[in-house]
């Protein structure tokens, strides 16, 4: 979706402000939200919950910009628990569980365990090869996508084939698209090709793009 989350290239956000000696979590509740998210990791839960990322992206734009990072995480965690029926609105409002049988256990995986949608062993013939000129397709899907707006329609060069991954894109309901696993390529975009004269001549931006996002030139 063309959401507020797709921030690359926007102006007006002011300076980047590093914080000296920043703690990992600024408040105890942030750590609890992070750990609860680990327990709610979609990979371990029933299908149909949609993508975590798409949940974040669907927070209305003004709200997205106003909420802190972990406030966003908390908002979508509550929303997801409600949608799944694991927690009721009454429970959220009262802060107390309603009588009933225990819910299913939600356990965070150990940090040392791979948790993301990792590279697959699946065989798929690569459509592109390193050194090849490609163009990012002019796609504007309504669901989750990893094709940033600033690359769409732009020409680049494949610099690396990263192997085969499941496409993470979803439909408008947050359901994974029925697409085969495919190669993910690192594509080099000349900065001036993206930003014109505002960019320095020799600079470049690299993005990792699924095969479905690319077309040959």
């Amino acid at each position: 979706m063309n959401g507020i989350h797709d921030l690359g290239g926007m102006d007006g956000f002011g300076a980047v402000e590093p914080e000296p000696d920043e703690p990992v979590f600024h408040h105890p509740w942030e750590g609890r939200v992070f750990a609860l998210r680990a327990a709610l990791r979609p990979k371990d839960r029933a299908p149909g919950w949609g993508s975590f990322r798409y949940d974040l992206e669907r927070i209305p734009p003004a709200e997205y910009l106003r909420l802190s990072y972990y406030e966003r995480w908390f908002a979508i965690s509550v929303d997801r628990l409600l949608r799944s029926g694991l927690v009721t609105q009454a429970e959220i409002e009262t802060g107390r569980p309603q009588p009933g049988p225990p819910g299913p256990p939600l356990r965070p995986g150990p940090a040392a365990r791979p948790a993301g949608p990792g590279r697959l062993d699946a065989a798929a013939a690569p459509r592109f090869r390193p050194g090849q000129d490609v163009r990012a397709r002019n796609l504007h899907p309504p669901g989750h996508t990893r094709l940033p707006r600033y690359t769409r329609g732009k020409a680049g060069v494949v610099t690396r084939d990263n192997g085969v991954y499941a496409l993470q894109d979803t439909d408008e309901a947050g359901q994974a698209l029925d697409r085969p696993p495919q190669h993910v390529y690192t594509v080099r975009f000349a900065a001036r090709g993206l930003w014109g004269e505002r960019a320095a001549k020799r600079d470049a931006v690299f993005a990792d793009l699924w095969e479905d996002y690319l077309e040959p030139i």
Binding site: H5, G8, P18, A35, A39, V87, W195
Partner: protein, 221 residues
Amino acid sequence: MAETENGPAGADAPGHEHPHDHQVVPDDIALRVRALESILVDKQMVDPAALDEVVDAYENRIGPRNGARVVARAWTDPAYKARLLDDATAAIAELGFGGAQGEHMVVVENTPEVHNLVVCTLCSCYPWPTLGLPPVWYKSDAYRARAVIEPRAVLRDFGLALDDDVAVQVWDSTAEIRYLVLPRRPPGAEGMTEEELAGLVSRDAMIGVAAVPPPAAGRPA
């Protein structure tokens, strides 16, 4: 982890939100989070000790000191550096680091001609096993918006001025690959041990918003 800032969970939980509404910001986020955890614990869905373990891991064990060890090893062992640049995931695993958000690592090397900078414009993707959880500025709207269009201005915000003849390469972590910058070894560090070198390497240098200063001047962040 202590939770002492609030009274009993849910004691004052606001109850005016619409169903399924995530547009309403809680008045007291700490209270709301505690209430949610309490509900899940009471329903026997969540073990608070398991949550403690997650928080402890990222507060105390998984952080940029891990990445600094990788960098120091690469600076002192050319064969390791070659493996790191060829297959970073495997080379980082040699030092015992891996797992969530480090499943597919790529290391990009700074040289006198090229400076690398890592960002995630769409979200907050970051190499957890080597750098821990990202700082607030890395997740900020300003950094995500600006790093790809005006990286040199962003670097100036961090006090890093690059010569015009240095090419800036920005790595947008859009898929499942996570990036670590191998900074340049500073002058004046020739006689230092690997451990001493690791002490020079800041988190920011491994994201690409800082250089590693010479030993006398430096203080790792």
